[in-house]
């Protein structure tokens, strides 16, 4: 069964049509890279899949749950939308860490707020907090930041901030983790450390969708690559098929820019 299914997704901003019927699906544990030039709709697609934008029409299924279906309703009710957002994780291009919290608190904030809704919260408050703390420490350890847990975002490099952001997204155990150009704001050296973390995540069978301009990374880490152009999926296949032997003229032209 597909863990993520996108059917005929359309999105317009006013009169500008950005997504013109996007279709794809992916299996548990798959790593999918989305490539394409700026303005091709990659980021809008990711924002629609994370309920940051309301699509104009279409259907989105995450882990078997229909989280969005324009035939049923234009916009899902708040509670459903929240559940949808909890089932997905998103790592932003500009990190968007909370500046007033330490790295550890950034990771812990959302899970501890969520824990308050558990029926047994009052009774096991201490134990739950203890567990969340351990989980957060383990996550920061996993992204190689055990030394920096108590530092504030302003004291961290861009690469470290992005790794905290990845840990923060993982803390809610999303079914699918989305990355929106996670390394675009970083220099090559910092890019390397972030990509290393993503690579390690890929090995743990995490389902991931990565919008990226790092072609070599996409080739190496993904199971599948999608090429988007003008709001449509033009090519969808293995990295080999899409990046090395693209069928489409437009894909060839786009990839040609990277070989110069």
């Amino acid at each position: 069964m597909a863990i993520l299914e996108v059917n005929n997704l359309y999105k317009s901003f006013g009169k500008t049509e950005v997504l013109k019927g996007v279709n794809f699906s992916m299996e548990q544990g798959e790593v999918l890279s989305i490539i394409g030039s700026s303005g091709s709709g990659k980021t809008t697609l990711l924002r629609c899949l994370n309920a940051l934008e309301v699509p104009t029409s279409g259907q989105i299924i995450v882990g078997g749950d229909v989280v969005y279906d324009s035939v049923v309703q234009k916009k899902p009710p708040k509670e459903d939308q929240r559940r949808w957002q909890l089932s997905c994780g998103l790592v932003f291009q500009s990190f968007n860490l909370f500046p007033q919290y330490s790295a550890l608190d950034n990771v812990m904030l959302a899970p501890s707020l969520l824990a308050k809704e558990r029926p047994d919260y009052k009774a096991n408050k201490k134990q739950i907090h203890e567990e969340l703390l351990e989980q957060a420490q383990a996550l920061l350890n996993r992204v190689g930041l055990s030394e920096k847990m108590n530092n504030y975002p302003c004291e961290l490099s861009g690469g470290q901030q992005q790794r905290v952001a990845i840990a923060r997204a993982l803390a809610l155990s999303p079914k699918v983790l989305f990355f929106d150009e996670p390394t675009s704001a970083l220099d090559p050296e910092l890019t390397f450390e972030v990509l290393k973390v993503i690579r390690e995540l890929a090995e743990t069978n995490m389902t991931m969708v990565i919008v990226t301009h790092e072609m070599n990374f996409a080739k190496e880490v993904s199971d599948r690559v999608i090429f988007m152009d003008e709001g449509l999926v033009l090519e969808d296949g293995s990295p080999e098929e899409v990046l090395v032997n693209p069928k489409n003229e437009r894909t060839r032209a786009f990839l040609g820019n990277f070989q110069k």
């Binding site: 500009s94 968007n96 904030l109």
Partner: protein
């Protein structure tokens, strides 16, 4: 007249200034926050017209945002008229218009101050809240936080840090404005001092400045300390 008498009288008067100051702060801050929400309200009851019609008039009606309009008008009126006049209005209008005169002049002063400062604070809050990058809200959203959680746990702490300088300004102005209570014969410090002036003693009037200076000195130190305390992070 002994120094003791003057000192006691002025200090008593300044106690009233401090009371007005404290009550205004305690009431105007939450009230101002409420007003700032109003002035940012996106509630548009006729928004649907925008989608179904191309007529210019109907499209104009669709822009109607009652809550925002009312609060912004309120802020305009309050900021656009003198506080002194507002004190008179609060004191006399209920009696003249509804035959329900306000018994206490102090209450009138407190109401006028709370409303006036709420209007000013609301604009500072609005600036602070609107200045928080959209990415912060989006990060909260994708982490499944409710709107209230996002506001109180993520946005508000950052707003507090950003608005300290303008709030410091406004609060220091408030300290000095409290002497306006004098216009409705509330015996705050300046009014107390004027009693001595009428007896031919001008020094007490001039010395009231010391009270304000000391009070504002302490406030300045406090805001400096607060700013430093929140300096542990940037953004």
């Amino acid at each position: 007249m002994s120094f003791q008498t003057v000192f006691q009288s002025l200090t008593e008067g300044f106690g009233l200034n401090c009371l007005i100051f404290a009550v205004t702060l305690i009431t105007a801050i939450p009230l101002g926050l409420l007003v700032s929400f109003g002035s940012m309200s996106k509630f548009r009851p006729f928004k649907f017209l925008e989608r179904i019609s191309t007529s210019k008039i109907l499209r104009a009606i669709s822009k109607f945002a009652p809550i925002r309009w009312i609060t912004r008008t309120f802020v305009w009126v309050i900021r656009g008229t003198p506080l002194m006049l507002q004190i008179f209005v609060v004191l006399y209008a209920p009696g003249l218009l509804f035959e329900m005169p306000l018994r206490s002049r102090e209450t009138a002063v407190l109401i006028a101050f709370a409303v006036n400062y709420a209007a000013y604070f609301s604009e500072i809050f609005r600036g602070g809240i609107e200045g928080i990058p959209r990415g912060q809200h989006e990060a909260c959203q994708v982490l499944g936080m409710t709107k209230a959680q996002a506001f109180f746990r993520v946005v508000l702490p950052q707003v507090v840090k950003r608005i300290i300088p303008p709030m410091g300004n406004e609060i220091i102005t408030l300290v000095k404005d409290t002497s306006l209570a004098r216009v409705v014969a509330v015996t705050e410090i300046i009014m107390c001092a004027e009693r001595f002036t009428k007896q031919g003693l001008i020094t007490p009037l001039f010395s009231t400045g010391i009270y304000f200076l000391v009070f504002n000195g302490v406030l300045t130190l406090f805001f400096g300390w607060l700013e430093k305390k929140l300096d542990y992070y940037k953004g």
